[in-house]
């Protein structure tokens, strides 16, 4: 594929310059695709771009374990937003990363209902228009349903949960060392499906951080449409505080600032 070829060329260039310890991307071997650290130009032939994995989380681990080194990353819009949110939380140092920015295709953007299907600097691909929240199925559903219908919808969805913690484990912004979802005070142990608090606590914790990468949806074995809930919360953050997640590292979450710094309507 042409796009993968362009990414390979840029990765090769970065590796030749010798500034980075490796380039993190996806590699296809024996018909399976997974995250791979390309540390020499020899194996770049296996570099591919799909299916998409959340590489930001891997980045964070590698940077933490190799404090002195720089890392190249093949990054889509969602990877970059996740890295920016991690940087706000002091989890990654963006100056140690060389991003190879890949713009998603229109079909990919539609599939994820992605509002920003491209990183700030695009090295490969053409940027396409993001999907506005108002045009998503989620917005339509939210506007049609009243409280009773919403409760029925979410109670049914949450009742399928097998408490695998996959949503939390893949989430690039779920980075707490001690997780409330593992604390028996808030979520009872040994109960499946878990209490509704499991989902509500997680939804609240990511309300001001969720970058809409869709990794939780993809990892859910029982198809709970989590991003529908999180997308609504993202939209509320925008409506209430004009806050957009993952776009500007200097823009702190309004939930951590005072009313002078980020006012709330009516106060």
């Amino acid at each position: 594929m042409k796009v993968s070829k362009e990414v390979r060329d840029i990765a090769e260039e970065i590796l030749r310059q010798g500034q980075v310890g490796g380039v993190l991307g996806l590699s296809s071997e024996h018909g399976h695709v997974g995250p791979h650290l390309f540390s020499s130009t020899d194996d770049l032939g296996t570099l591919v771009l799909e299916p998409r994995y959340m590489l930001a989380k891997v980045c964070r681990m590698i940077l933490a374990d190799f404090p002195g080194e720089r890392l190249g990353v093949v990054a889509r819009g969602c990877d970059e937003r996740a890295l920016i949110e991690m940087a706000k939380l002091g989890q990654v140092d963006l100056s140690r990363l060389d991003l190879i920015g890949v713009a998603c295709s229109e079909a990919q953007a539609r599939e994820c209902a992605c509002p920003h299907p491209y990183p700030r600097r695009i090295d490969v691909g053409e940027p396409v228009q993001g999907v506005a929240f108002a045009d998503t199925e989620c917005a339509q559903q939210a506007s049609e349903q009243d409280l009773v219908a919403r409760q029925a919808f979410w109670t049914h969805a949450f009742s399928r949960c097998i408490k695998c913690y996959g949503c939390r484990n893949v989430c690039p912004v779920c980075i707490c060392a001690e997780c409330s979802l593992e604390d028996a005070s808030w979520v009872a142990r040994g109960k499946i499906s878990p209490e509704i608090s499991f989902h509500l606590i997680r939804a609240f914790h990511v309300a001001d951080k969720c970058v809409g990468c869709g990794a939780c949806d993809a990892a859910c074995p029982v198809d709970i449409p989590l991003t529908r809930l999180y997308a609504q919360m993202r939209e509320k953050m925008k409506e209430m505080f004009g806050y957009e997640i993952g776009l500007d590292v200097t823009n702190k979450s309004p939930l951590t600032t005072t009313l002078e710094e980020a006012p709330l309507h009516g106060l």
Binding site: A149, S197, A203, F204, M233, P254, L259
Partner: protein, 159 residues
Amino acid sequence: MSERPFQPRIIAFCCNWCSYAGADLAGVSRLQMPSNFKVIRVMCSARVAPEWIIKALSSGVDGVMVLGCHIGDCHYISGNHRAAKRFAVLREMLGCVGINPDRLLVDWVSASEGPQFQKIVTNFVERVAVLGPGKAAGEQRAKGTSELNGLTQQAEKRE
């Protein structure tokens, strides 16, 4: 015997510096108000974690109040700023999953506002009584209620 009207169970998180003192004042002034609520004293309204409210609502509590100092009067300068924003977002989230956001109230009561405390509590209890039992709890309500009774008894014993 006539059917007793629905008596909501309500938890009020009151900050140590203003609203708890306000509640105290309402008490010593012998102001009449419904007795459906339990006060939990916290150091600041910002100390109230969303987990607490979510857990309360999902284990059989019908309404939660978070009462802090008036904006500008916070003992910790801007604690209540964070509480105001945090719970405004939490209210929106409850609405998204179909739990009536009116079950969560955030308001401000100063140490001298006994009557204000009385008014807020009375209005909130009435409002939640109209909303009916918190369905967020579902089948957990029975269990949650016994848990809650246990906690109340423990608290009473300590006092």
